[in-house]
């Protein structure tokens, strides 16, 4: 089923069929109707590959995320997709599972697809990748990965500010033994976030003890992290989690270990995903506006000719959300 067949059936040239399909130019209404009829009768649908190949431009955006299962990423995707659909664009997503090799593969795939723009919302970026993307000429939005370049846009989260707020609050509650639960790519040499935590603890609470652990992102990872901390003999009065998704597992494991939250241990998350309102107890966290991120991404990836040029970067300021998983540090000597 091709344009040509539709053209034949409608008694016009394929160029005309193309015109009505793209409602370009002014096709005489009678002609248009005949074409439409033929299209329907043959239940014809265009070949997107021929289309982008011939037109040179694609109406597809790409988004690469570390872990789509984590609502933080999914919420961004949802907003982006919604905006995209509204403007006749589509978005194809790729998941990296925090694996750098997968990131490389995904970027490659997106480039082969000739996406009109790409959002790279991952924490495992590498300089080479950034260079390759910069060279690709297509607009690219990165999350928390600074790289100035004409076609590169950036979204920064004031992560430090968020963590400071959390640690400060915990300190004011009397907590002096803190643990930081991250996932693999937030810790270690590439992990900026662990560093921020450590620096913050040292500054706001120089007399405190602390410890960091990492496991996979998600509830299961959170659970394992708690086990590891406890097994090490360290007994934190508060646990700061790199995100809400892991915090959910932390909460559960604490409960299983017979530790009450927040009476025995306080817990904080990050992101303020919807699930953080459904956990037990409800999670104290830091809000990151995913909708704004998704919207920002779309606006950079699909420049609207009618609007004035938009900013190249955006800095998101986290907002502290106090709920029930935090409380005063237990009296020393107590369990």
């Amino acid at each position: 089923m091709s344009l040509k067949e539709v053209a034949k059936r409608a008694g016009v040239s394929s160029a005309t069929v193309s015109r009505v399909l793209n409602n370009t130019n002014v096709v005489r209404n009678a002609t248009r109707l005949r074409v439409i009829k033929a299209v329907e009768e043959l239940s014809y649908y265009p070949n997107i590959h021929a289309r982008t190949l011939a037109g040179g431009k694609s109406r597809t955006l790409g988004m690469i995320a570390s872990n789509l299962e984590n609502p933080f990423f999914f919420d961004i995707f949802r907003t982006l997709e919604s905006d995209a659909h509204a403007k006749g664009y589509e978005v194809v997503v790729a998941n990296t599972d925090y694996r750098p090799e997968q990131l490389v593969t995904s970027v490659r795939t997106m480039l082969e697809r000739r996406v009109a723009g790409l959002a790279v919302i991952v924490s495992e970026t590498t300089p080479e990748l950034t260079r390759e993307l910069a060279a690709s000429k297509i607009p690219v939005v990165f999350y928390d990965a600074a790289t100035p370049h004409p076609n590169i846009f950036n979204i920064y989260t004031n992560y430090r500010r968020g963590i400071e707020r959390v640690v400060d609050y915990l300190h004011s509650l009397g907590h002096r033994r803190l643990a930081f639960v991250g996932h693999h790519s937030t810790l270690g040499p590439t992990g900026e976030r662990e560093k921020v935590f450590v620096e913050t603890v040292s500054r706001f609470a120089s007399t405190s003890e602390w410890r960091t652990v990492a496991d996979e992102d998600g509830p299961e990872g959170g659970r394992q992290a708690v086990r590891e901390v406890l097994a090490s003999g360290f007994r934190p009065s508060a646990i700061v989690c790199v995100n809400d998704f892991m915090a959910i597992g932390v909460l559960r494991e604490l409960l299983d270990q017979g530790l009450r939250v927040p009476q025995d241990v306080s817990v904080t998350g990050f992101d303020n995903i919807k699930l953080s309102e459904f956990s037990y107890p409800r999670l104290t966290t830091v809000h990151i506006p995913r909708e704004r991120i998704g919207r920002f991404v779309f606006e950079r990836l699909v420049p609207d000719a009618t609007r004035k040029p938009v900013g190249r970067e955006i800095l998101l300021d986290p907002e502290f959300v106090l709920r029930e998983s935090t409380g005063p540090a237990p009296k020393p000597g107590h369990p």
Copy 2:
């Protein structure tokens, strides 16, 4: 950057470049090396559109899901994607949010993409769509939507059996006032599941009272559903949820209303998503093997020439998972 440029740089014809890129035929090793070198030097990557257009075949699979945010769907996607990647395929997903119009749009998009195969894991299918897909000739896998056809495959869940097991168990515990919480597309005229619940309750517990409510899929919907039930004056001793994702919200809302689970109200889910082990209390549910579904999908969508023909259908038998959200019905007259 095109094949031709690579060819020129390597001093060969574009046909030869194509051959080494697809490692087809036997290209002389010296030639191959030169080509590879040129490819790398130019950091060339093929245009997937030109490729599928010329080759006539695509290495992309499509998956349409009602709600990717619900881990049930995501788990299927994950398995499918993993299998696909292992065989050099990719999968593009589309979310319908349970909206029939979006389903139509998504199917159309997938067809335009000329996907090699399509998985339609939604509960809002329509006969017309099925017909269109059948006519498309590409392999299609449906979930819980019977339609015999040469290129159509089916996955059935013995939903009835699962619900029977749940209702029977609840009945044996003395529960006589049951509520069923579903999402919009499980209830109403198109909802098979509500019917199953009602029939089952009537059969297994003819002396029971029951009520059904629907809201959006997800924790928030579960919460709203509980509010609605309670507001109506009905006071169930047990709530059967259409899936775990909604049950999480049900659990939370019950807690907020001062109702203890399972002492005051028992709650059951369906699917056995990972989160059901992290809820408070842990959810009694019915296991549906998402990995098997994902695997089944891949095997039908990408027929392996070396293997004997595979079955056209599969019937999944749910397995009851007893956890902590269910218990004996409270004594009558008690809160």
